[in-house]
């Protein structure tokens, strides 16, 4: 009724190449976001470790807060003391995902790189290899039994439980790990685009101008919400990685 034309999904997440169109190394907006996110993550640590003050400030403070947050809040929380060695990996996951997510609300970019499935998939598969690797390292080949056969299950039920555990742990788990991050960010992005398009459409149609305030408020509120989601999804992805590693290497069911 407002003659609004909502862009197709491909237009809001699929970006044309800025260089090397069609090549394997094509650089588009998403790749640019990866680069800036990697740069920002590394810069926190470069600046944070340049001048080591007794009372940390600025980048050093940020780097230390991140290290403490991930080490105490994720690694120790999910895996105990044995999880501390995974801290650098978890910090990398957390910060890289957070920075690629936060571009959702950064003007001009306004594109979370995790709203494309490539990065969540790469990271989820990376985590998949890490946690199953940790399982095999802790239990040897007995890990397969550890992963598939829950203790205390009657023998006949195993015919039902083992296939379910296999599908759950070896097939669905990496998929859910990927989609949780990807779908949350994509949904947030679509939400913001919807409100923005609606605001713009109502703004152009003069008689409906006052109505534009509602979606405009929506853009503001959901932009703030997306900042929270960016953090939360980075945290959830990292936390789950810790939980999966712990489940794989733990000696108790």
């Amino acid at each position: 009724m407002f003659a609004l034309e909502f862009p197709p999904l491909s237009h809001i997440v699929d970006w044309p190449g800025l260089a090397g169109e069609g090549a394997w190394w094509e650089i588009n907006k998403v790749v640019l976001v990866y680069a800036i996110a990697a740069f920002l993550t590394i810069m926190i640590f470069v600046l944070g470790s340049r001048r080591k003050e007794l009372v940390p400030t600025g980048a050093q403070n940020l780097a230390e807060i991140t290290v403490e947050f991930v080490e105490d809040g994720i690694a120790r929380e999910t895996m105990g003391e044995a999880g501390v060695k995974y801290t650098p990996m978890l910090i990398s996951l957390f910060l890289f995902i957070f920075f690629t997510n936060i571009f959702e609300v950064i003007p001009i970019f306004q594109m979370p790189a995790s709203a494309r499935i490539a990065l969540p998939l790469v990271l989820a598969l990376f985590a998949y290899v890490v946690y199953h690797g940790a399982g095999f390292r802790a239990h040897g080949l007995g890990y397969i039994k550890h992963a598939l056969v829950p203790p205390g299950v009657p023998f006949l039920l195993l015919f039902l439980v083992v296939p379910i555990e296999f599908v759950s742990k070896f097939l669905v788990q990496p998929f859910s790990h990927t989609v949780r991050l990807f779908a949350n960010l994509l949904a947030g992005h679509i939400l913001l685009v919807t409100f923005a398009v609606l605001t713009s459409g109502l703004f152009v149609l003069k008689p409906y101008l006052p109505l534009a305030l509602l979606p405009m408020a929506g853009v503001v509120v959901f932009t703030a919400f997306e900042v929270f989601v960016s953090f939360l999804q980075a945290y959830v992805f990292t936390l789950l990685t810790g939980v999966y590693i712990n489940a794989a290497q733990s000696h108790e069911h």
Binding site: P8, L9, S10, V13, D14, P16, G17, G20, E21, G22, A23, W24, W25, E26, I27, N28, V30, V31, Y34, A35, A37, A38, T41, I42, I44, F45, V46, G48, S49, K52, L54, P56, Q60, A63, E64, V67, E68, T87, P88, M89, I91, S92, L95, F96, A113, R116, I117, A118, L119, L121, V122, L123, L125, F126, Y128, V129, V130, G133, R137, L186
Partner: protein
């Protein structure tokens, strides 16, 4: 180090797996114009008489890419970006920050221990000074008491000596008085005797009668008494 190798292997395996799965969808990242240009550049391409395959290919050019299929370039760059971040943090960033944090923890612990030690030392010194002060007070009190007792002793000694001296002097004086008195009495007796003898001689020499004798003696005694 083993963990690092495991993580590195994980990254490589996941990268290979995703790139492998992404290859089929690699064309979806191309723009519509590029897609159409590729079809148009094929041999036997006639816009008026499209083959069935060409028609399908042209339709595919206008279809939105499946969002569930990863783009090869994004997979490669995403993995590369994460690999760089992970390598930098695992090798340099995390150890550096952790080292700074541990050094701070160690320094604070050392400072606190030093402060505790110094406090204990200060308390020990204060207690020692208190003890010394109390000892000094006791010592001074003892010295004062001792001096007081010594002074008392000296005073008592002097008093006793003075009393003894006084007593001795009194005794001496009494003895002297007694001696003087005895001497005086002896002298008086000698004098009286001499006088009596003298009076007697007078009596004898004048041979007076009894009344005369008596008168003479009395006169003499009065004379003596008047002269004393």
């Amino acid at each position: 180090m083993r963990t690092f190798r495991l993580l590195l292997a994980a990254l490589l395996v996941s990268l290979v797996a995703v790139v492998g799965s992404a290859s089929a969808a690699s064309a979806s990242g191309e723009s519509e114009a590029t897609c159409l240009a590729e079809i148009a550049s094929e041999e036997h391409f006639d816009p008026e008489h499209l083959t069935e395959d060409q028609d399908k290919a042209i339709t595919a050019c206008f279809q939105a890419p499946n969002p569930m299929v990863p783009e090869k370039n994004e997979v490669i760059w995403g993995a590369f970006g994460f690999f760089v971040v992970f390598g930098a943090i695992a090798k340099f960033g995390y150890p550096q920050i952790k080292k700074a944090m541990n050094e701070r923890t160690e320094r604070i612990r050392t400072d606190l221990e030093t402060a505790d030690n110094q406090k204990a030392e200060a308390e020990r010194l204060a207690a020692e000074y208190q003890t010394k002060l109390a000892d000094a007070k006791n010592e001074s009190a003892r010295i004062v008491e001792e001096a007081r007792q010594t002074a008392d002793g000296v005073r008592r000694q002097l008093e006793a000596k003075a009393q003894a001296d006084i007593a001795e002097m009194r005794t001496q004086a009494a003895a002297d008085i007694e001696a003087a008195k005895s001497q005086a009495m002896a002298d008086l007796r000698g004098e009286v005797t001499a006088l009596a003898i003298g009076a007697a001689e007078q009596v004898v020499q004048r041979n007076l009668n009894d009344d005369t004798n008596r008168a003479l003696v009395e006169a003499y005694i009065q004379q003596v008494g008047a002269s004393n």
